[in-house]
């Protein structure tokens, strides 16, 4: 059983106890512990169950690469699943629960999957999807659904907050080990703007654990002084607990800072996502130790040798009284020596290599530790915990030569440089046969906007494993980067002690001749339960590409993204294919390096600031009135203003009738308003609109249609000519920005010699539509210096003057068919003007109306609405708007497209009005059915609904729609489908239902 040692632990503070719970059990650790070290210190080696077979699993690593010890941390609004215990810093009150088991970690019903392993081979999902098909729906899906998913999704709204931060640096250095620190020292001295990040809370990486001495002093001392130097540099910033998660195009780097995970009581954001632009990036991200593939290598107690060393040295934790070390390299001997130094037993070091003569093995021998060369592990004994190992000759097939009782196994298969960040943006790798690893190929680095390399690897991340070499590598990387930036830096690195080492030997399977029974117990990917046998099966079934094998077996597809398993998996595949590892290649490294929170990605964009809501100057009034708001683009507009006890439908009908019968007020501020001015403005307007705008007289308004170059109707609205050179373009509410952009596009990119300016003044004005038979009386009551009579200011005229003391521009335009004045005032006076209209209009029951009443009234008049009658495939000719298309103009945007054969096809569906025979309302989106079926056996159609309402004015259902030969079929009754399979009969009529002669508006 694992336990806390009586002394030691360079990162823990034994005077500061920390209480926490694991699956409800109260446990105690120390400040400086990780959750994993604290659990081990409490004898909790079983930390979770695997994903597929629910096998018992213990912690295998001590850092970001951990595949097994995933926990649900926190509760309620602060619960988060799949947190690695190895990177979770312990704090008082931490609540952790293990995952993937039911009903309990100790007794898991799902572990039955383990005995059914032969039925869950590689490609299990694909095979069950395929055959027999009914089995998926009725047999496999229910089982898989029940057990699928890693951890539980949080149910409550996240209580924490998150943010982004944009930083622009010359040099971004990733990794606070000795190579990264030295790189920062050298780069900092060049004067470059430097940002150094380290994913853990501690600096120095492995050096202090490995007993490295730098410049003759312990690594910790050098690290401390290097940090002090860096913190004293104005041009250098250092951040711990900050993980560079991805390197992207043109030097874009994301870094994930965890601010309060270790201390939830702290104020402020929980995570901060740094969005960095770096001219140069140095990846000093270290290396990860590889597991060895031997039977039973997933039993709790089997750990990476470096992790065992970390637990002993950093946290004063014993993995068990007796630890067998198994290795193919010298580095693992450091673990044996550390265990020995802590007073723990190392019954044997099992080394696959035939002869071992390095300084470290010699030191182990001198310490009296038994070193067995040419030996491998035949199998690990134990179920929920290691009880021992059997040994065999590495060269053989696994005949047991010896058996050793132990509680832990420390394994090392060599080291793989962390090349993720190098690779994210296209950096290529080269196979290093001596160290049996992929490392960055310096000649094929990622390139930036200037076509030049912008990522440089340093230290172990570059395959440089010795301390002295790593320090020099950091400094050299910084010198190269400074030169690329046009700065000068001097290479200088301190000395460090490195023992002489025996070369490692690649060992991909132990023993090398292991048969199928053993291969079925050799785990490659602990998290996704992929074994050596699965990869071999995939190869056998023809999945020869590494990318295919990955997806077929799910190797490396879990939350750890195969940090421990990828290279071993590749080697297994290569061996099954009788090919070389570099020919098999790697899968693609994709960000993030380790998972980052959804909150960090969203940053500030949640709650009130999830997205910008655009508010008119009268917005507060609408809210005070309890308006039901609807989105129109990013605007929020009142849909209707329900009174107490009123349904929305009742409110809308009341608003329509009040407006038609007396006086309605609409907040039309969202209407787009764009000034188009210049000597060529008329010419430009003629190109923008389908009709002739250059002939519009100053002081007059004209309705116009705007198409895109495809000929499709894009926007519509009323244009007012202010003076000879100046037009005021009104656009739809959602269309102002788009239309303004459209204008600028043509002016800047096609007709740049035309003298035309545009200014978007949409928000300069609040606009109110004063509508209804009493509209003029209201304005006159408020007092005006304008003559608003029908004679002086007729329909489609406009005037500028004062109303009730407000500076206004009054447009005689109507979207309702009633007498209507649209009045613009400066936005800063919008609310006051709105209030004044209501106050003075009370005697006529002035009624605020919303967008739905607006829509109904325009439909009653047969006016089209962009987005209802149009959908990006409709041309003005479809809508009976031929009158608004100039025949005289040689050109306008969309004209040529409207001449294409499909656009002039007489069978294009055309706009008509529709009246239901029974007075009901045709459902939105309904199609007109036709006889027969199409080639796919679907019923034929002959039209579709574009707008449909109950008309309170007419007391019946009215609609507009596009119908085959519609305008030629007046009076014909056609059927519209309903979702229940029945149809509604409707008569084809003129789309102008109300006041066809315009008598109401022209008064």
């Amino acid at each position: 059983m694992s336990t806390r040692l009586s002394s030691g632990g360079r990162l823990i503070d034994r005077s500061a106890a920390r209480d926490f719970t694991f699956n409800g059990k109260r446990l105690t650790g120390y400040a400086g512990d990780t959750l994993a070290s604290a659990l081990l210190a409490n004898g909790q080696t079983l930390m979770g169950r695997s994903f597929k077979y629910h096998r018992p699993r213990g912690v295998v690593a001590s850092g970001a690469e951990e595949p097994n010890a995933l926990m649900g941390i926190g509760k309620g609004s602060r619960f988060e699943p799949n947190q690695r215990a190895t990177t979770t810093e312990l704090f008082d009150g931490l609540e952790a629960e293990s995952q993937n088991h039911w009903p309990s970690l100790e007794f898991d019903v799902g572990a039955v999957n383990n005995s059914l392993a032969m039925f869950f081979p590689a490609g299990f999902y694909y095979k069950t999807f395929m055959f027999p098909r009914p089995a998926w729906k009725h047999l496999f899906e229910p089982i898989v659904r029940h057990s699928a998913g890693l951890g539980k999704a949080p149910k409550d709204r996240d209580a924490d907050r998150y943010e982004h931060f944009y930083a622009f640096v010359d040099v971004m250095i990733v990794g606070g080990g000795i190579a990264g620190l030295q790189a920062a020292l050298t780069a900092g001295a060049s004067g470059a703007r430097v940002l150094l990040v380290e994913q853990t809370a501690h600096w120095g990486g492995r050096a202090p654990v490995d007993g490295v001495e730098i410049d003759g002093q312990p690594a910790d001392e050098w690290i401390k002084s290097a940090l002090q130097t860096l913190e004293g540099m104005d041009n250098v910033r250092v951040r711990s607990r900050t993980m560079a998660s991805g390197v992207y195009d043109h030097g874009y780097v994301l870094a994930y800072e965890r601010l309060t995970d270790h201390a939830p009581e702290m104020d402020g954001p929980r995570h901060r996502l740094w969005r960095i632009r770096a001219k140069q990036v140095i990846t000093a991200t270290g290396a990860l130790e590889r597991p060895l593939s031997f039977a039973g290598n997933d039993i709790p107690g089997v750990m990476l040798a470096s992790a065992v060393r970390d637990y002993v040295v950093n946290w004063g934790v014993s993995p068990g009284d007796r630890t067998v070390v198994v290795t193919n390299n010298d580095d693992a001997y450091r673990t044996a020596l550390a265990l020995h130094g802590a007073g723990l037993a190392v019954p044997a070091i099992v080394d696959a290599r035939a002869t071992v003569t390095g300084d470290l093995p010699e030191a182990a021998r001198a310490a009296g530790i038994r070193v067995l060369t040419g030996t491998g592990i035949a199998s690990v004994k134990g179920k929920k915990a290691v009880t021992g190992v059997t040994l065999c000759a590495q060269a053989g097939e696994g005949a047991v030569t010896d058996e050793i009782a132990c509680e832990a196994v420390a394994m090392s298969g060599g080291w793989s440089p962390v090349v993720h960040l190098w690779s994210h943006c296209g950096g290529k790798l080269t196979w290093d046969a001596d160290q049996a690893c992929f490392r960055p190929d310096h000649d094929r680095a990622p390139t930036s906007h200037d076509g030049k390399p912008f990522v440089t690897a340093a230290g172990a991340a570059d395959g440089v494993l010795g301390s002295a070499d790593a320090l020099a590598s950091g400094s050299n990387a910084a010198v190269a980067v400074a030169e690329a930036l046009g700065l000068s830096a001097t290479a200088s690195a301190p000395s460090a002690n490195d023992p002489a080492e025996t070369p490692m030997e690649a060992v991909w399977i132990m023993p090398q001749g292991a048969g199928p029974a053993k291969r079925m117990k050799m785990w490659l990917d602990y998290q996704n339960d992929v074994k050596v046998s699965d990869v071999r099966l995939a190869a056998q079934e023809g999945y020869e590409s590494v990318e295919h094998t990955k997806r077929y077996t799910t190797l490396g597809m879990a939350t750890d993204q195969g940090k421990l398993s990828n290279i071993n998996g590749l080697a297994t595949l290569a061996s099954a294919l009788n090919d070389e590892i570099p020919n098999v290649g790697t899968t693609t490294f994709r960000p993030p390096y380790t998972p980052i929170s959804m909150g960090a990605i969203a940053g500030e964009a949640r709650g009130d600031v999830f997205q910008p809501l655009r508010r008119t100057p009268m917005h507060a009034w609408h809210e005070e009135q309890g308006a039901y708001m609807e989105p129109v683009g990013h605007w929020r507009r009142p849909y209707c203003y329900p009174k107490a006890g009123e349904t929305h439908e009742q409110a809308v009908h009341r608003e329509v009738l009040a407006t038609r019968n007396s006086l309605g007020l609409l907040d039309a501020s969202t209407l787009g308003k764009i000034i188009v001015k210049g000597p060529d403005a008329g010419r430009f307007m003629d190109m923008l609109y389908t009709n002739m705008m250059s002939t519009l007289k100053p002081g007059k308004c004209r309705y116009g249609l705007m198409c895109n170059e495809n000929g499709f109707l894009m926007d519509d609205g009323v244009v007012a000519r202010i003076d000879e050179d100046t037009f005021l373009v009104h656009t739809t509410s959602g269309g102002a920005e788009h239309t303004h952009g459209h204008m600028e596009d043509w002016l800047q990119c096609e007709w740049w010699d035309w003298k035309v300016h545009t200014v978007n003044v949409t928000e300069q004005y609040a606009q109110v539509a004063v509508v209804g038979p009493n509209a003029r009386k209201l304005l006159e009551k408020l007092g005006t210096d304008m003559d608003l009579s029908a004679e002086a200011l007729p329909f489609m005229g406009f005037a500028t003057g004062k109303i009730g003391g407000f500076n206004t521009r009054v447009f005689r335009i109507s979207f309702s068919g009633e007498l209507s004045f649209e009045i613009a005032v400066p936005a800063s006076q919008g609310r006051a003007f709105w209030d004044a209209l209501h106050e003075a209009g009370a005697e006529w029951n002035a009624t605020a109306y919303g967008t739905e009443a607006l829509h109904i009234m325009r439909a009653e008049k047969g006016f089209i609405m962009i987005g209802d009658e149009t959908d990006g495939t409709v041309i003005p000719q479809d809508l009976g708007l031929g009158w608004a298309i100039s025949k005289k103009k040689e050109d306008y945007l969309g004209k040529r497209a409207q001449e294409r054969s499909h656009m002039t096809d007489p069978t294009r569906w055309k706009l008509v009005g529709l009246e239901t025979v029974d007075g009901s309302v045709i459902p939105d989106g309904s199609y007109a059915v036709a006889s027969g079926t199409n080639a796919n056996g679907q019923g034929n159609t002959q039209g579709r609904i574009t707008s449909t309402y109950h008309s309170p004015t007419l007391g019946k259902g009215i609609a507009m729609g596009l119908v085959l030969n519609g305008p030629d079929r007046m009076g014909e009754v056609i059927e519209f489908n309903k979702v229940d399979g029945t149809t509604v009969p409707a008569k084809i009529v003129n789309p102008v239902f109300y006041d066809p002669d315009g008598e109401k508006q022209n008064v």
């Binding site: 943010e163 944009y166 622009f168 655009r614 508010r615 300069q764």
Partner: protein, 187 residues
């Protein structure tokens, strides 16, 4: 007449303070920025030098900012805006130039305090490092999801202009970013 700004002077207090600065007169001028007539009209009205690319020239109560190669933003007291539009329009008669009062189409914020620069750098993808961005420059960029213009208007003070309709959004963003306890300590 009670003219009101979008948020009527809302304030978020803290070590870094965010304030909606009320109504300001703002005039868009489009035209040939090299025209002697235009330069004379602008500098004469505002009493400051003509700004170059991305510059903002600030006087006692007026300022002129370079918006684009053919556009300036002229800032005057709100009550003077209409008169300034008239003055400029008259002075530029005969030129191809467009003068528009956009005072009420905008909202203006001041962000002040030791971490003001950082609060803005949480929202804008622009290099705001003091070596790259200092007094005299106006940077047009985005703040989260909306366009904005930013300049340093004091030792520890930055000014932000956005569209009036999104004033509440921008205020909320700035208040959140400036919140005590969320200091980055980067600049």
């Amino acid at each position: 007449m009670s003219d009101v700004s979008a948020l009527m002077g809302a304030v978020a207090e803290g070590r870094t303070r965010v304030e909606e600065a009320g109504l300001a007169g703002m005039i868009t001028l489009r035209g040939d920025l090299a025209s002697a007539k235009l330069i004379a009209a602008v500098t004469g009205l505002a009493g400051v030098e003509m700004p170059g690319q991305r510059e903002i020239k600030t006087g006692d109560d007026k300022a002129v900012a370079w918006m684009s190669r053919d556009e300036l933003l002229i800032m005057v007291p709100h009550e003077e805006a209409e008169a300034a539009v008239a003055t400029l329009s008259t002075a530029l008669a005969g030129e191809h130039a467009t003068v528009a009062n956009v005072s009420d189409a905008r909202a203006l914020f001041r962000v002040e305090g030791p971490h003001a620069r950082e609060a803005i750098a949480k929202l804008a993808p622009a290099d705001l490092h003091p070596d790259s961005f200092g007094p005299g420059e106006m940077r047009r960029t985005r703040m989260a999801q909306v366009p904005a213009a930013i300049w340093q208007s004091g030792d520890d003070q930055f000014s932000v202009i956005c569209f009036r309709s999104v004033a509440q959004y921008v205020f909320d963003l700035l208040a959140l970013s400036a919140k005590d306890g969320s200091e980055v300590g980067y600049f």
